[in-house]
Amino acid sequence: MNKQTRASSKTTDFDRLNRDWYIDKAVQILVFIGGISAIVFIIGIFIFITKEGMGFLLGDFSFKEFFLSPNWRPTSENKATYGILALIAGTASVTGLAMLVAIPFSLGTAIFIAEFATGKTREFLKITVELLAAIPSVVWGFIGLAIMNPLIIDIFDVPVGLNVLNAGIILGLMAAPIMTSIAEDALKAVPDRYREAAEALGATRWQVIYKVVLPAAKNGLLGAVLLGVGRGFGETMAVLMATGHAINIPGSVFDSVRALTATIAAELGETAVGSPHYKALFTIGISLFLITFVINLIADLVVRGVKKG
């Protein structure tokens, strides 16, 4: 009673905590958890795959065999070998070809959208590109399997249409939309006054793009390409369906190959948990994780460089 009268006798209430204060605090905590969860998850995933693959790394692992042998025979009766060289070659060849397809496509589209298209054409194209990016990879794989496969057999007169060429084209088309979006952002970030300055000097549209816009956007464009490469390394389903899934160091684009990711996807379900095969697959996972992590990191640093320079 005494206390209450003292409180009410105060003319100010600077220490009052109202509902808004609690909402504000709650939102702050929620946002903080949301923000930090990405870091927690990535560390958690890394710890998990490292733990699962560690047994192999510490036990049967032979650095030389793992990275330099093309023989991936995890289920061999006599002597199981775990060499991923052929798988790396498979992933690298498919990704390389995919970039050859995707870079001209995505840069061309991005330049058209950012520099030439206006009004409705531009909006329509942007939406279409975003829609393309949302096509599930299994659909792309299906296109590779059902459409590209017979087409390649027909056109090039080869026995198998599921090969580096097929997967490279499919993966290139898959990576192109996201690369286009990022490349377009990079071109958009070039201030219009640079274009105006160059045009006022009498430069043609092409000269403006070639001499001013592309050099100014080069970091962002490189970032777009690197993200495409990262996508290529990480893509699983479409590659599994379109490569032919044969362990092979490719001699030409018509050879079937097998990708790192596809190997994990196809085999992990059939291995006994804790077996050397299981652990070897997780070691592939670690390698993939590190590769894509490094590529994404480089892409990020490169894109960031654009703002500093």
Binding site: A197, T204, K211, P215
Partner: protein, 264 residues
């Protein structure tokens, strides 16, 4: 050409002359029946309140306004006696003849040297030898009084210069293209008083060699740095006389009100 020669004799002492120039941004009319004769070799300033069409006029003469597809233009603009909207006129050649300096310095994000050579390279196809290029860079930078400051860092990015130096560089890079007219759209508005003074000095330096048309918000600047002055209001030219006369004995009430600061 022939019809015009019959109707009005070409006055070779005119750098820019317009007849019945109207301009619309979409449905908004920004310029109304502009008839202007701007003399060769002089510095002419354009004053008037914001939105009166000064910049629009400038951007029309360089044809940079046509970057925007909603701009519509009627009437005639002659630069050095030739109609820049003529059917046989190549827009890029007009822009080469008529250099433009913008309100905010806009050097390209490449080296100082490449900035100077940019216009030259795109118009010659870049077949100039290194020695000649060096000469072009040196002479352009000397003309804008920038050579001594930047001669040791020609390969630095132009965007690292101070604003005043950037604006001087933007003027310098027009010169190798050999324009006859220089248009300046409030070239000093981003500069401090010292930078402004330096650019004004430069204007006098370039006077005679080029016809200079400078838009300014700053009446003191118009008075200091120009020989003829044009006062515009609501898309129309109100008065065009010798600068001293404009400020001492303006003929129109609107002009008097503006230069006395009653609006603007």
């Amino acid at each position: 050409m022939t019809t015009r020669e019959n109707s009005t004799a070409i006055d070779t002492s005119l750098a820019i002359s317009t007849r019945k120039l109207n301009l619309w941004y979409g449905t908004f009319q920004a310029l109304f029946d502009i008839d202007l004769n701007i003399k060769q070799g002089l510095i002419t300033s354009m004053i008037g309140p914001s939105g009166c069409g000064k910049s629009t006029f400038l951007r029309t003469v360089n044809r940079i306004n046509e970057r925007m597809d909603y701009v519509r233009i009627s009437g005639e603009v002659d630069v050095m006696g030739e109609n820049i909207f003529g059917s046989d006129v190549e827009m890029l050649q007009v822009r080469k003849q008529v250099g433009m300096v913008f309100q905010r310095p806009n050097p390209l994000p490449i080296s100082i040297r490449k900035n100077i050579l940019f216009g030259h390279t795109i118009h010659t196809g870049g077949k100039t030898g290194k020695a000649e290029q060096d000469e072009i860079v040196e002479s352009a930078l000397k003309q804008v009084l920038l050579w001594d400051k930047v001669k040791d860092k020609l390969d630095h990015k132009a965007t690292t210069l101070s604003l005043e130096e950037q604006q001087k560089l933007c003027i310098a890079r027009l010169l190798p293209v050999k324009p006859s007219v220089l248009l300046m759209d409030e070239p000093c508005s981003a500069l401090d008083p010292k930078g402004t003074e330096a650019v004004e000095e430069l204007l006098w330096e370039l006077r005679g060699k080029y016809t200079i048309l400078i838009v300014t918000h700053n009446m003191a600047q118009a008075r200091r740095a120009s020989e003829e002055c044009i006062f515009m209001l609501m898309g129309k030219v109100i008065e065009h006389t010798e600068t001293g006369e404009m400020f001492l004995t303006p003929k129109h009430k609107e002009t008097t009100d503006y230069i006395e600061g009653r609006y603007g």
